[in-house]
Symmetry: C2
């Protein structure tokens, strides 16, 4: 719904022990929110610490008895909060800020609430999101996969780094107070995510956006599975450079579908290892249905209206040249702002993003291979979400015909392979990944490093 | 998403003490699910009890020590479960069954699970939904508003009925075991709704539909507020009987908008009593935007793409007569099945229902007055949801121009007033509510009454 303009500002503040996936969740939320057009950023307290007191803090820095360190860590939090306030109230136009820190003590949480209450000059909502995990294998995996790569352990020998990190967790565990009515009061607003979505608790969550966020969060998982994106084979309309329409595949288009089938036959040999079965999605337009028919050997196929190509309204069936001649003003407006430009009686890219949100939720949720046989516009929106493309870039993402993208989302990033098919010869060219977007979901603290030797 | 065909069958089984809103939640879920096209029914164990052992059971019937009564109540549950199995596996084509009972004991819950596991011949998922409430005023209100009207207390003096019902609750409280990992195991799948959504817990909820259901449930509340539905004023296209288009208001249309404004000025005098502010929604088409401009004195207005009229594709701008001449086959198909008929390159009513689901969630969530300035097709879908219209009836709901419906959803039903405006004279005619739909969300047990005097 187009309610962004009336939207209250929001601060999401994380809670949880180290290695509980707080940064993963922060980044996921920021990705989703930016994709739906809400300017959002993560403010990671660890990055402020590294910037302010330097890297290589060993676990003694996290000892609650170490008064000087406690003070230093509090200062990092203040700096992050100040930057959040600037982000939300300045001309930067931020709408949602995520404070990514441990906030494991009640005292700290009250301090954070108090600070924003005093300093924020605009109306806002604060929501706590706590990640709880007591499955040791997940925690260990998280330490190995992410924490060892942290700047904190640059140059450390891996065993001692692991040990130090385990000690750091222990320091936090000593004083950890989980979120609850007892600890945080009747009126506290929070979401608790327990053991990777096996249990979720939400308290006092109200409003349009918080309930959307919750729906998003319950669909997330870190299971690995490939998502394949491809456009339909060449259509009759494509050969004539006509916009929109509902034409069938050209002869070349059918050849591509045949190549796609051969390729997927190979790929599907590994599909049995995934938790859920492979599903094939296409739109309700002939060119994707005809292409996906070649994939029916894979089983479940769904033709989904929400995957239809952008509705070009009165421009449907024209060439771009004809649009320029018949509707010069529209042609110009579209060139100026392809994201927001709405075809008369048709859609904009922003409209499409809203329309395919349920597909994103479903692609996040499904824990098995998915093949999306789509259209250029719709694939730009879907792929743009996963590849971290800034929203302004989405309408110009390169998505040629005869190309398949194999995309594997990972906890902190993704891997991608592109395959270009020559429909005639069947030659497959593997292309090293295309455009990589700068990951600007996380705010970089602009602070002078105040190195303090007493912490080493 | 169009996944209904691949959908697993689902059994939702309620848990909770009497007067905790289980029947309210059951009916709401059944309403939502039927509206999105999933055949769903509530099987209320109380109704089986009244049918099997008669009405006028006093609280001693609910004493756990009363072995004969315990047995009789268990039999009611078996009958309900048998009917559920028939509903889900027979040609009736049921997709989701809701077992509306207390199920407050662990033993009973395991028995229910076991029974379905043994008897169901098709694959299904079972989800428990527990409603917990410990706010005395809500419980008392529930007893007064709903339980006293129950057949159980037909002819009782109200004070003794209340006392008896309180005693019935006490009998249940003695043996109540809430859902938890300790009581129901690591793998139990449940949603707990605590104190009317102030807290929600979900455990092991997976899959497309369960996560949609949860999103729906977190938006529900029983706060009273009016929802106003009106079409735009007459448009230029209306005067020429053309389908679709994006024309402006006619002179008469502007007069209606003026009348609407006067009426809403009066109505708005009471708006300050609601928890949330009044919002006005319109589509992105000129005729609703122009109409809603007369309501800008109310404050927040949103122009929402999802509220646009049904996309009539290639028939846009034609009259129905022209459609019949140009596309006789389409004209015929549409007459045969208006719900599923999709205009070539356009939409069906089912497509519209999917598209406006977020609006339903938002109308449920918002706890203040809402004015929807819409179109005939889209209002049929919205109003059809609230008025309990069977999905097949939605495309033929009567929604004339120059009419405003004031709709107030209540916990168990709704009130509705219709106002017809003569745009020229300003005369307002209040119409007593139109079509009332038979409420067939709840299964009526077809059992012979086995009156047993020992229970009186």
């Amino acid at each position: 719904m187009d309610q962004n303009e009336n939207l209250e500002l929001m601060i999401i503040s994380m809670v949880g022990l180290p290695a509980r996936g707080k940064s993963y969740l922060s980044k996921k939320m920021a990705r989703y929110l930016n994709w739906v057009g809400l300017k959002s950023k993560v403010f990671n307290i660890g990055m402020y610490r590294r910037s302010m007191v330097g890297v290589n803090c060993n676990s003694t820095f996290f000892d609650q008895e170490n008064q000087e360190a406690v003070k230093a860590r509090e200062n990092c939090c203040f700096e992050a909060m100040n930057d959040i306030i600037t982000f939300l109230t300045s001309s930067e136009g931020g709408q949602i800020a995520i404070l990514d820190g441990t906030n494991t003590r009640v005292k700290r949480r009250r301090m954070v609430e108090q600070y924003f209450m005093e300093k924020m000059t605009k109306k806002y909502t604060l929501i706590w999101v706590e990640s709880i995990c007591n499955i040791q294998s997940i925690i260990e995996n998280n330490i190995l996969k992410t924490k060892l790569k942290s700047q904190d352990y640059n140059g450390w020998e891996s065993d001692s780094a692991i040990n130090d990190f385990r000690n750091r967790i222990k320091e936090y565990e000593k004083v950890y107070e989980t979120m609850s009515v007892q600890n945080d009061g009747e009126n506290s607003t929070y979401i608790q995510i327990i053991n990777q979505n096996s249990q979720i608790v939400m308290r006092n969550l109200k409003g349009y956006l918080p309930s959307k966020l919750l729906s998003y969060l319950i669909n997330l998982h870190t299971g690995e599975r490939p998502i394949y994106f491809t456009r339909h084979g060449e259509s009759e309309h494509n050969t004539k450079h006509l916009i929109g329409g509902d034409s069938s595949l050209s002869q070349l288009g059918r050849k591509y579908a045949e190549r796609l089938k051969e390729f997927c036959e190979e790929e599907s040999k590994t599909f049995s290892k995934y938790t859920e079965k492979c599903v094939v999605y296409c739109s309700t337009l002939k060119r994707t249905i005809e292409t996906s028919e070649y994939l029916k050997f894979l089983g479940s196929r769904s033709s989904i209206k929400a995957l239809d190509e952008i509705n070009t309204g009165i421009c449907d069936g024209l060439t771009y040249q004809e649009v320029q001649q018949k509707y010069p003003k529209d042609f110009e407006e579209r060139n100026k702002d392809k994201l927001r430009y709405r075809y008369p009686r048709g859609e904009s890219y922003l409209d499409m993003i809203q329309r395919i949100e349920p597909i994103i939720f479903e692609l996040e949720r499904h824990n098995g291979p998915v093949i999306v046989v789509g259209h250029q516009g719709i694939l730009r929106c879907l792929y743009g979400y996963f590849s971290l493309a800034p929203i302004e870039e989405i309408p110009v993402i390169d998505f040629p015909l005869n190309t398949l993208i194999k995309f594997v989302p990972e906890a902190y990033g993704f891997t991608e392979e592109r395959f270009n098919f020559d429909p005639e010869s069947g030659k497959v060219t593997k292309i090293t990944s295309g455009q990589k977007y700068k990951d600007d979901l996380i705010h970089t603290p602009l602070l002078e490093m105040k190195k303090n030797d007493s912490f080493y």
